[in-house]
């Protein structure tokens, strides 16, 4: 499962959603070049990842200016630490999105008060279906939406509140009024179902 980064079903950037655009270079190969100081490779990495990173961070952080700041931090971090990328631990896209999500969550948890977070919880769900003008319309987006719909309501709510609402499983359990053990299980089952539906190993 760690060796198919270049596989057609794996990398969102090479999905047919970007039809009409030339095939994108393999991110993992680009990262090995970035690790040696190759600025041209870095520019390609930026082009491939800035959009996904900003889109995800904005869902979590909400404020556009702050989200842009987080995105820039993440991409600079990527330049700085490209030599630490380890294919054994997953695809390059997943590595970067993981770093970005952690940063976004940290930003929210350190800055927002719980009252504001409750408001966000309500909107996180509605927002999932919102298609903004700047959204990059891709087949991948449609596929993720379809797969999210295949989850049970509790699985979907648990995953969404955690990923975009930046709640811990304890907090999600409190919000949904279910046992923490149940929420943990739903998060895991939900992600396993998503993983299988999306065809990522």
């Amino acid at each position: 499962m760690t060796h198919n980064q270049g596989g057609p079903r794996r990398d969102p950037a090479t999905e047919p959603g970007s039809a009409g655009e030339p095939a994108t270079a393999d991110l993992a190969v680009l990262l090995t070049r970035v690790a040696r100081g190759d600025q041209v490779a870095y520019e390609e990495v930026y082009d491939q990842l800035a959009g996904p990173v900003l889109g995800m961070v904005r869902r979590v952080v909400r404020d556009l200016a702050q989200s842009e700041e987080v995105m820039q931090e993440v991409l600079l971090e990527l330049w700085r630490t490209a030599s630490r990328f380890d294919r054994d631990k997953g695809s390059a896209a997943s590595w970067v999105m993981t770093i970005a999500h952690r940063r976004a969550i940290d930003r929210v948890r350190s800055e927002q008060k719980s009252a504001e977070r409750e408001l966000r919880a309500a909107s996180a769900q509605i927002d999932y279906d919102e298609v903004t003008e700047t959204a990059l319309a891709t087949l991948d987006r449609e596929r993720v939406r379809r797969c999210m719909e295949s989850l049970t309501e509790l699985q979907r709510e648990s995953v969404t509140l955690a990923y975009y609402g930046s709640y811990t499983y304890d907090e999600v359990a409190g919000l949904l009024g279910v046992a923490t053990g149940t929420v943990k299980t739903r998060m895991r089952d939900g992600l396993i179902r998503l993983r299988d539906c999306l065809g990522v190993d």
Binding site: Y46, K89, Y167, M187
Partner: protein, 258 residues
């Protein structure tokens, strides 16, 4: 410990979603280090969460890109670390050898992709070289040196923008201790000045030679042999005869053997 192993295991979903406290995260990561199946599960779940995130992609303001590129140009990069000997910096070669032993970092697929990519480059450069190779013995020697780099199993291609204009491309093989340098569209220099290539390492900076004259906007290929571990390559503008040490600012820099 408050929780048993199986209970820890169910934390995989929450962990992959970053829906855990710092305390839970630390505990789960300790568990991950000793549980291969958990680590594998996390990889899969992370791919899934990354796809959720990527599906929200938006188009960033274009001006952010230049900011990011210039920030990167000002920022020093971390050298690679060895996973089993973090204290000792083993260098690029050690890293490669170690990774092969663990079937890690450089997967067969990456190697195959790289090989395929460089084969195309090698053929292209070989075609370019056909004309020159027949001219002189010196050219034949150089041609063989270039072929040795291009055919090396560890060859890597690096590209850098030259700050005064143009691009530099380097094909480098650690195993061959050599690199092939080419450049395109470099700014024409006034008479009396010339581009000089440098190797900069822990032992100091040494000249790798003057760049040959540009033909139809292209320079090279030029072979530099005898690379040492830890050396970076740089480019400056110097008096036409060359300098023993750089006398002006680097206009291009790339990391080589780390």
């Amino acid at each position: 410990m408050r929780r048993g192993r199986s209970e820890l295991h169910t934390l995989a979903g929450a962990y992959a979603l970053d829906a855990v406290s710092d305390e839970d995260r630390a505990r789960f990561e300790r568990h991950l280090a000793h549980c291969d199946s958990c680590a594998q599960e996390i990889r899969g779940l992370r791919e899934a969460t990354a796809r959720i995130g990527a599906s929200a992609a938006v188009r960033p303001r274009p001006e952010l890109k230049n900011q990011a590129l210039s920030a990167a140009a000002r920022t020093r990069q971390l050298p690679p670390v060895s996973r089993d000997a973090p204290a000792a910096r083993r260098g690029w070669r050690g890293l490669l050898a170690g990774a092969r032993g663990r079937a890690g970092l450089w997967s067969p697929r990456l190697a195959a992709a790289l090989t395929a990519g460089f084969l195309v480059i090698a053929v292209a450069m070989a075609v370019l070289m056909v004309g020159t190779q027949h001219r002189l013995d010196a050219d034949q020697v150089r041609g063989r040196a270039i072929a040795a780099v291009l055919n090396a199993s560890d060859v890597i291609m690096l590209t850098a923008k030259v700050t005064t204009g143009g691009t530099a491309t380097i094909l480098e093989s650690t195993r061959e201790h050599s690199l092939v340098f080419t450049a395109a569209r470099l700014r024409a220099l006034p008479a009396g000045s010339s581009y000089e290539l440098w190797l900069m390492g822990p032992e100091g900076t040494r000249s790798a030679g003057m760049l040959p004259a540009s033909r139809a906007g292209m320079i090279g290929p030029m072979v530099v042999s005898g690379l040492a571990a830890g050396e970076d390559v740089g480019l400056t503008v110097e008096p036409a005869g060359g300098a023993a040490r750089p006398t002006s600012a680097m206009i291009m820099k790339l990391g080589l053997v780390r």
